[in-house]
Symmetry: C2
Subunit: 346 residues, 2 copies
């Protein structure tokens, strides 16, 4: 898709080396290539080409008498221009189909099941960022008194996501009073996106009711604060165990930093929300991931939508030697599928 920097024979060799290494996890040598993929070239020729590719940074050697493996730059070229798009295997579609029947209407369960499925199909750890709050449409607010000074604020959106926050008040408020406030807010706010709600509408509302009731105003303030602090959506993670199947992590010391990273929601969040110029699908290789622990990993993510608006991200984490072709297809499909599922009931 990008400008081609390599002549077609070099491309061919880079592709073959990458494909083979992805499959075998072993450095691949000229002899192997000549034998396995008969390209009509002798090992010596291939050696020369590989030496060139190494010099220009697409391949590297673990040690002098080993075969070549792709460098980060090599993977990048592979991903941009060489990789073959795959389609889903029949049995994978089957797995998805059979999941559908059990797919829950509970948004939380649905998302959980979705990452699990993605991990099962790709055989890599899978991550997901739940629907963002901001583009969601306000559906309902409810104030529930837990005791005299603590009030539970529940906000329901059209995505089915429930946000909750406990607020503390100085003076006890009666149930009836809270109901009145809830009703008033509901009437005013139904159908507004939380996005707008945060800025304009709430302000407007505030001035409007200013004179009438000091307490309502306090409630509005609190609602505003609630929505601000609850910015970050939940992170889902599953299939961590899959990464242990790959030889690059057979030594525990290689795996440990990664495990540490996956236990920090903060870091997963950053990985999933890294800016991208692509539309939807994004591939980050090695150091392109801004994360110390993931220098030898790649991440493939896709955004999913709800009613035409991007609301979240789903992705897969694996070694740089990852089956890009396959994972891209699966992640893309799942994101589309999820979008459909989320948009359909509304």
């Amino acid at each position: 898709m990008k400008r081609r920097e390599l002549d077609s024979r070099k491309e061919l060799i880079l592709k073959v080396v990458t494909d083979d290494y992805i499959e075998s996890a072993e450095p691949v040598g000229s002899r192997t290539i000549a034998r396995k993929y008969n390209l009509g070239l002798s090992p010596a020729t291939i050696r020369n080409e590989m030496a060139d590719l190494e010099e220009s940074g697409y391949l590297k050697q673990p040690h002098v008498s080993a075969g070549r493996i792709p460098s980060q730059q090599g993977y990048r070229y592979y991903v941009d221009s060489l990789m073959e798009q795959q389609t889903l295997a029949a049995e994978e579609l089957q797995m998805i189909k059979s999941y559908i029947e059990n797919w829950s209407k509970e948004i939380d369960t649905l998302l959980q099941q979705t990452v699990r499925l993605l991990a099962q199909i790709t055989r890599y750890p899978s991550i997901m960022l739940g629907p963002k709050l901001r583009p969601a449409v306000f559906k309902h607010i409810q104030l529930v008194p837990l005791n005299d000074y603590n009030i539970l604020v529940l906000v329901v959106t059209n995505t089915g996501v429930i946000e909750n926050k406990i607020i503390t008040v100085d003076l006890p408020v009666s149930q009836g009073e809270l109901d009145r406030i809830s009703n008033q807010l509901n009437r005013k706010l139904r159908g507004v996106t939380l996005d707008n709600l945060k800025s304009s509408v709430l302000d407007e509302l505030k001035t409007e009711i200013e004179a009438r009731n000091g307490f309502i105003q306090q409630a509005v303030n609190l609602l505003q604060k609630t929505l601000e602090t609850k910015e970050r959506a939940r992170i889902y993670l599953d299939g961590v165990i899959n990464i242990l199947e790959h030889p690059e992590f057979k030594e525990i010391e290689k795996f440990k930093p990664l495990m540490g990273m996956m236990e920090e929601e903060e870091k997963l969040y950053r990985i999933l929300t890294a800016p991208s110029d692509e539309q939807g699908l994004r591939i980050s290789i090695g150091e392109e991931i801004q994360e110390e622990a993931a220098q030898e990993c790649s991440v493939i993510t896709a955004t999913y939508e709800m009613g035409g608006r991007v609301v979240g991200t789903i992705g897969v984490l694996g070694p740089t030697r990852m089956d890009y072709g396959h994972v891209v297809a699966v992640v893309g499909f799942m994101a589309k599928y999820l979008s459909k599922l989320l948009s359909q009931p509304e």
Copy 2:
């Protein structure tokens, strides 16, 4: 605490062996013991005693010319009669104290922070079973229409836990109608424990309103079903990475089954809810855990309460060679502390 089956010198040796092995992770030999803990016994005597202890099943040898390590039976004896109860170190108390200030009133966040803290202090993976639904007291129900045929049912309890379920109806119901139903249910049910609610009260309510409104009855039915299927509380897990510090898991193949287990909420649930004759604190060693993958692990759990009733469990998972004395103290303390925190605002 239990009947003493061993004479005091054997006990002493078993204790020393276990303590040393817990600390060093190396099989411990007679010479080491004689030198390190001067018991006034020669290596030869100790050897004889150890041979006896092995014969009666408290110790075992990894191979013939290695030192001894405790068997499962040995650990059991150690835990029941030999182990010294420890108290929390000043800096551990400090960690807890400094957490308090940030402790959230959101029940979910609070629980999450608690397992994290437990994992940090013990340096083992920590698990937690969130508050059970059944003993909780009904606080509020709200029916929110998501669209014509789907209604979101929200149930709030005094624990601050929010249960939600989407139900599908055959006929569209208006917002007003739903509000009326919500109100009616709220009036009827406030203060009832979900436990009772499930059986008697709902039935009573059903017959009472039977004649009046066919739809309400349907709602009650659905509420009933909701509470039944939402039986299982959420599982929290953190600090998995800690287990990798221990040499018994330095080979990935040893760790893999454990990782698999920890990704199955089902299995964690079973571990946390294993029946116990103890009051509160429970220690399960090796095969006592009914879980294939955890044969070489131990679990220490404690229950926590809310207003005097046991509502959940918190625990720690580690190798059988675990620092029992320390972990018991910490888990016990945290459970008590959590109970206090959960019971105080109400």
